[in-house]
Point group: C2
Chain length 271, copies 2
């Protein structure tokens, strides 16, 4: 869905750069600045530094003088407002509003102040409006919007940084749109099957008996406890191999110390 | 639940301040820095500036030399890792992992790479580990963790700012813990009842006839269309009052221009 981020009267160049980066991480690139403090804000050093590679978002950004000029082609307007005012669109949390807007009324809506609004047809375009760092959004800009999004935050300290607020809204909106797949940061875990775990436990039972930790005449609950532990650990085939190696070494060391010779390892039993 | 944020080898003072602010907005205050680049990072100007009032988090923060010293009293360790490595804990999205960790297995888990892990008992404490801005987390630190959290982001540009990543994790974790209530930024909307809407529409029907826009002999679908429009608009009692005033003015102006005199307004008929 066509998605635009609009920053109104932004004063810190770093926040413009941080906004560009936050948008890009969530796959958005339509940025409009309304009357920013610095006319050259898109080219300032701090902006570029904080954008950290999201230069295409900065290059495509538009600077306009009035909010009117920023709203072409956008059907649904979301104010972001933290300070209370006595009039305006209904206040909603981003997640609840997005779920409802995209037609998922059966999702649990928690912490909602107001009943869901009947939006009629689903809009095909959306804009998120952010006010200045110091004063937030002006009343007359909030009045133009369909909803006032409020990020649920500590009532004692609700002061989010501007770029951080953009990051949260962009994240929630992207997730509501279906989300990006999680990038695997580690190799896919492979689970050993239950037979391999049982074989390993049998191996350990013998080894623990060899080292005198388990008394076969009074085994108590030791093996079931280890079984539970290893079930929770969700062992991989490699880890089964390691644990069998440990069991083998326990037995060999003990039997050798006792002057006996352990049976040579049978590779086929190692699995 | 006891919640700690651990920054390892952080090099930018601004990110430490931004982290403190992000934590505080979501109601967290336990920050530990492991071997930061600047020994005096908690007192640097940029830190304090970006913390923007979250000074208590900075004042309570600890600086330690090794990750070991940062882990006292924490049961469940979450790495945050974006770059792939060939070994380590399973990769999960924050929302899915938190929902499962807190015992909500019936929540829809989308974009999951791996089957949910059986965590056994719910932990009573958690730490989120963040690596350096430039190199992320070291392998040996990831290996100590129970899970690698990966924030779903654009595969072409997954580079989140450190403080922005802290903000997202803190937000998702707070929401998973039950969330803060949404602060109402606007007055609670009050809905006019259907009788008031019907009375207003009757008033408009007369006025639209008076101004010649509605032909009672051929009304077409005008009034049902307006009825639908005003239903979607979810009118308040004040708005009913305004719309009745508009209708009255239409009639009066037209009848006066035609040399007739409109009946004096009857206040009791105004709602």
């Amino acid at each position: 869905m066509k998605t635009r981020f609009i920053l109104i009267n932004t004063s810190h160049a770093g926040n413009v750069g941080g906004t560009a980066r936050a948008m890009k991480t969530m796959g958005f690139d339509d940025l409009v600045l309304v009357a920013p403090r610095w006319a050259n804000v898109l080219r300032r050093e701090e902006t570029i530094q904080r954008a950290s590679g999201a230069l295409d978002v900065l290059n495509n950004a538009r600077i306009v003088e009035t909010l009117d000029e920023a709203l072409d082609g956008v059907a649904h307007l979301c104010a972001t407002a933290m300070t209370p005012r006595d009039f305006g669109p209904p206040t909603r949390s981003p997640r609840a509003h997005f779920a409802e807007l995209l037609g998922a009324p059966d999702m649990p809506l928690k912490n909602e102040l107001t009943a869901p609004v009947d939006h009629g047809p689903r809009p095909d375009s959306i804009a998120f409006l952010f006010g200045s760092e110091r004063f937030g959004m002006q009343n007359e800009d909030v009045y133009r919007c369909h909803v006032a999004l409020s990020i649920p935050s500590d009532p004692q300290f609700g002061s989010l940084n501007l770029a951080a607020a953009v990051q949260l809204i962009a994240y929630d909106w992207r997730e509501a749109l279906g989300g990006f797949a999680v990038q695997s940061a580690t190799a896919e875990p492979q689970l050993a099957d239950a037979a391999a775990v049982a074989g390993m436990l049998k191996h350990w039972e013998e080894a623990l008996t060899d080292i005198g930790f388990l008394d076969p005449a009074s085994p108590k609950k030791l093996m079931p406890r280890l079984n539970q532990l290893f079930n929770r650990a969700q062992l991989s085939p490699e880890e089964i191999h390691i644990l069998r190696g440990v069991a083998k070494a326990m037995s060999q060391k003990t039997l050798r110390a006792a002057g006996k010779t352990a049976a040579p390892a049978n590779p086929s039993a190692e699995q």
